[in-house]
Symmetry: C2
Subunit: 293 residues, 2 copies
Amino acid sequence: MEIIDGKLMAQQLKNEIAAEVNDLIAKGERPPHLVAVIVGHDGGAEAYVANKEKNCLAVGFRSTNLHFDENITEQELLDEIYKLNDDPEVDGFIIQMPLPKHIDAQKVTEAIDWRKDVDGFHPVNVGRMTIGLPAFKPATPSGIIELLRRYNIPTKGKHAVVIGRSNIVGKPIASMLMQKAYPGDCTVTICHSSTPDIKEQCRRADIIIAALGKPGFVTEDMVKEGAVVIDVGTTRVPDSTKKSGSRLCGDVDFDNVAPKCSYITPVPGGVGPMTNCILLKNTLSARKNNLPG
Amino acid sequence: MEIIDGKLMAQQLKNEIAAEVNDLIAKGERPPHLVAVIVGHDGGAEAYVANKEKNCLAVGFRSTNLHFDENITEQELLDEIYKLNDDPEVDGFIIQMPLPKHIDAQKVTEAIDWRKDVDGFHPVNVGRMTIGLPAFKPATPSGIIELLRRYNIPTKGKHAVVIGRSNIVGKPIASMLMQKAYPGDCTVTICHSSTPDIKEQCRRADIIIAALGKPGFVTEDMVKEGAVVIDVGTTRVPDSTKKSGSRLCGDVDFDNVAPKCSYITPVPGGVGPMTNCILLKNTLSARKNNLPG
């Protein structure tokens, strides 16, 4: 059994990105520039964006945060997006969700030029990914693919069971794992809230992707000996032994499941750290006018 | 066991469409207008387009076929597409594939205004469908959904196994069946050429969608008692007992599989006739400026 070290892999990826940025700068070119758009005030969003900025600076990117008042109108926000679309010095940008209720989030997402949509949520990117064309792909599933690749985990012909059908994790990881590619070429089963026999479905899996957001949902009896278990859950649960009073909890009962696995990701320190780096990787691709393959 | 009558369902759908067209005309509005773009000469493509025209006229649509010489340049073809995009009297159009080799088919597909892409192949439509938003969806999977609906076949919580991961059938039907909707809300497994145990995967299915193009591939031992079997195969095989010397053959060994099924589609007369009608249904939606839900 091997515990996948997401922190280490993320550091490796960041080093690779930083080296490419250094090459760009050595050639006299400008570094990649990532912009985050934040509307109103939300503690979680602000912490996320601050972390994004720290990561950008660590790899030599330019980073800009655009804060708008929560009373900005939808049209004013759309106009700001059009400016970013047209700005040749902006390679990629993200809109921090959730947006205030008077703004149609889907409309805003679709207003982004898909070639700058480094979050990979624009329908063109979703569609291109599904068809198997180069596209910006969402951070979490891309991070999982990156971990599978960096650990040389065999995937061809393996049966992957995905728990959860969200647009940001379940559906895209299912889509990526079924493509004729490495990592990929899996038989893929997607389970969700209407699946009556999730336990049995999981028991047959060579690879389990747990992305439903229920702490400890995947128990030892659901996991085949030698399976690969990827835990996407990040639920904050109370924990009086921690200084903060809480801890992050995955969807997998790690202590009991881990001994049966060939590979498993911990929470924290598994998928999470990789996820943050994909945004950098996508922005570097945008800077080079390439779409991730 | 009930044999799904695709011809009858297609006729019902055509009657419903014709009634809506009559309503439009009674209100003094113009009928829906579908354009087919054909480059060069291909017997199969021409037969398909002739059939499309016949269907259009049967429901009161306006139908136009634009034939271009096989030496048309990519740019000239793109310019023709831009004209169709801008023409307010064209509701939807299709580009007959395959295109000559000097033309980039993907570029041509992406040049279509997705709001007129009644074939549902534009990345925006693929992406919107994946996310669960209204979109034009490809004809064959939409036809399957229509058959499931018209026969009131229960799908929620059922396990659907899709054989084949093509962009025009396997992937989109998997995507539709996993959405929280009726028909849909299935646990979905997608199998393909790299799946080592297709027989076992199928044996567990409540619903089998066979879309791999191998005549008679799905045999009786692969089908659970009471399963729903949808056969998308249409391979032409030699048959000396037929006047034409050949017949259409499905992916399912119909005679031996049918007795075990609760529902099964025959070939011909199952999915095929419905497929042709979806193009009309999508064009009617385009005429009404609605996207199919």
